[in-house]
Point group: C6
Chain length 199, copies 6
């Protein structure tokens, strides 16, 4: 999709899937690291407290499990700003957890996220991927937005039956139980000469 291609062109942006009043929608999680400032998270985008906690969990997960994924924990011991446009729309819930891990892992490694992939799933502090709601609406929205690959929690596999066959055929659907697999699937391969924008 042109939009997700533009948005994910820089490291630190991942494409999530959300349920809104009007069905499902894609949303973008943007992460940036500042050169100076107290280490910690600045969160914007009118996030509710469950979603703010998801961001803390995503960060702690990467800071303790980063090395297993090729992520340097020190790259995340900075002032990080995580924003979820649109700025005036309140957002909440735990289902952006794996998208936040992906955006932060992309930022820390300097590897952009693949533009054709969207994802949804709660994450725990040890990286387990827990099931979320609205799978059908979210995957329909991913398809509408032109994404061709999606990542969903393993424990949501039964929900995939509800998807129209035509949509299911046009999407590559990955079911995952460990967020390390999400990161491996979603980040573009390392290219020679790629550097984190905040390095």
């Amino acid at each position: 999709t042109p939009e997700s291609a533009e948005r994910t062109a820089v490291p630190g942006v991942a494409t999530g899937l959300a349920v809104t009043g009007a069905g499902g929608d894609v949303l973008f999680i943007e992460a940036t690291a500042l050169a100076d400032g107290e280490p910690g998270l600045t969160l914007t985008g009118q996030l509710g407290d469950v979603m703010k906690e998801s961001a803390q969990i995503a960060l702690s997960y990467l800071r303790s499990h980063g090395p297993e994924l090729g992520v340097d924990p020190a790259a995340l011991h900075r002032r990080l700003h995580l924003h979820v446009p649109a700025g005036a729309v309140p957002k909440d819930g735990p289902s952006a957890g794996i998208t936040m891990v992906t955006a932060l892992a992309s930022l820390a490694t300097g590897r952009p996220v693949r533009p054709e992939i969207g994802m949804t799933g709660e994450v725990t502090l040890n990286g387990r991927v827990l099931p979320i709601g609205g799978v059908k609406q979210k995957l329909l929205a991913a398809h509408r937005a032109g994404l061709t690959e999606v990542i969903v929690p393993a424990r949501n596999e039964p929900d995939l039956d509800d998807l129209p066959a035509t949509v299911r055929d046009q999407l590559t659907i990955h079911v995952v139980a460990d967020v390390a697999d999400v990161v491996r699937l979603a980040l573009r391969p390392v290219e020679a000469g790629t550097l984190a924008n905040a390095a």
Copy 2:
């Protein structure tokens, strides 16, 4: 306009466009840097939380993307005070985002903002310009206030049809998708001998 000319005579002030109960209006975003004090933002003008978040996004954008725009990120690692008069009028919403980026870029570079230009648009952490509401009312207000150039989000282009032809003819309207273009359009050229007032 005499008012915007006076207000934007110093670096750090940009002219925004807002929707109020009584139609549209221009507003001025004033930014100042203090010589001492903990780096961070002091925000005044009875700003709601969406608008406060816009200021944080504007600052983080410039602190990580500044070099692409000729803005030294270190010039923004200070105590900054951003005020939006009138002081007693509550203000909210994300549409002052690009005006805040412009005011801060003007402050950091010491280049005043062009007095004939007004602007409106949400900004994301990576500098994408997102569409906002009230385009017609805002452009009518810009015209009434004597501004001759306005900047609006590319995705608001369809809304320009709603503007009376006479007004549209008298305004130079820039549609932008990247806030870097806003900064390039809005700041006065560097003159020999110009220095940031807080340098």
Copy 3:
């Protein structure tokens, strides 16, 4: 007036004009600097949030524009306490802005405020003086309290028509657009041997 003479005998006190339930009234803004303590503002007097923001604006204005007025910004990089008696009366609104600038400029320079002068006006971060309400009631109160000179915003000039001719004749009324003019009008001339009480 005996009261304003007593109150403004020390540097750091300026006479403001307010609208209360029972018409207008004079109020005194007291500022003090402490020898030790974290730089910043302690605000007392049951100030509402618009009035608290006015104090921050007044301080930031002087810290960045002080040198143009003969005010050393370093003299204001201390713990400052600003109090507005009476302590139990809630107060709010932006119209004490220029009075706060004056009290702080008096404190920083050690030059007391002229006892015969009262003032009202909102101030912006760059020192513009914005119009306020209740001009007639405020000037009647100034007159009743024995003040002989008042400072009002230029954009409130039309409101002066509403003042009884007898009162208007007995008051010297200054209309100002820039708070630098307020400071020049209100502070007593430097005398040999005068020192800031907190120097």
Copy 4:
């Protein structure tokens, strides 16, 4: 009175006068300085925000005007704890201002407060004593409690007419306009060998 004698036997305690649901009452303001800890005020006794502000005003007054009163400002640049028993009774209002100044001046100088004296009055940042309410009830309570001397604001002098002549005859009433006079009246003379308990 035996109670106020016991309570004010140590430096740092002053006897105030309050209005309660059941008429007037005496209350004790206790101040202590801790050897270590961040300079500042710990306030207990279920104080409302006007009364908390009074404590800050009292402290700032002494820290900037202390030398005029023989009070070393450095003795108050510590962690101070100010408590107003009884601990479960909510208290508010500005009229304990001069009592707080007295308790802190007593603490800083090591001179106990005279046990036969009670006081009431608002204080400003520059030490002006402002009028308060309930003078009659407060002085009746002082008399009932066995106090023989009271301090009231000069501007409350007219309220003294309302006091029964028998009570008025048995009380020495000081009317004051400057809190420096309160401190001079209330502290016991320096004795050889007296030291502040927190020195």
Copy 5:
């Protein structure tokens, strides 16, 4: 009593008396000092704000009057955690003041509290013991729980008449006006080799 014997076996635990919906009850105040961390109080047990203030008063009292009691103030200039089980039951009021002083004095000296003793009373910053409510219910609860000695405020002495003679005969009741007497009565004598658990 077996329970209070177990609970008070370590230094830092004192037995208080409370009024609950179902009459009186004993409660235990547990205090611990941590080896590292910012000096100050961590309070748990769903304490209301009057009770939180009591803990601050108890600590400040011991930090300024400790030496008179054989308590080293430095032993209390640490991170202290004070907990009042049961964790889910909200508790409030000032009557645990002397119990908190006792628990902290026990912690600081390493001398356990005598297991057969319970206590109730408000404390002021200078150690005065103020009267509390519910004396009869509290002493009946102490008796029911097998305690044999209780400490109550001197000004509650008249309330002791309301106690059944049989109970009164089986309890040793101490009436106190100064919390220093509470500490002397409640702590076990120093034994050779006893050390504070947090030393």
Copy 6:
């Protein structure tokens, strides 16, 4: 159980038992230590204030009593993050206290928790285990989830009568009064080469 085996495979995770709207359930407490950052607790999982206090109590207990259990207090003087999935479900109450002690002790020692064991019980600052509610529902849930061993407070022993004999026969039930016994029962034995993941 496969789930608790997966979850408790790493040090820092313990299996608790909770009462929910739909009967009992198992929950997992995850603890992680970060290499950098201010020592203290980050708590996520929509925990209510009683449950947040439980986490502070668990940490203080281990930091002062750790050595008795083979836990190095210094290993807990770091930034710790404790999370209780599922992230969107509000949780409260004191009964996860012993599970939190176990998760933190596991984290500090690097010894994983035995996967077949679940637990419930309030803990005090000195390690006493206090009774909790819902024993029957919690043990039925443990049994349903395939756990074979449970730990309950000694004072809940009478509640075990309410359990169906078949369930009771298939569970090894430990009744404990001191949380040190919980830690001894729950942690896997030290194996050669085991290291804390955050060491």
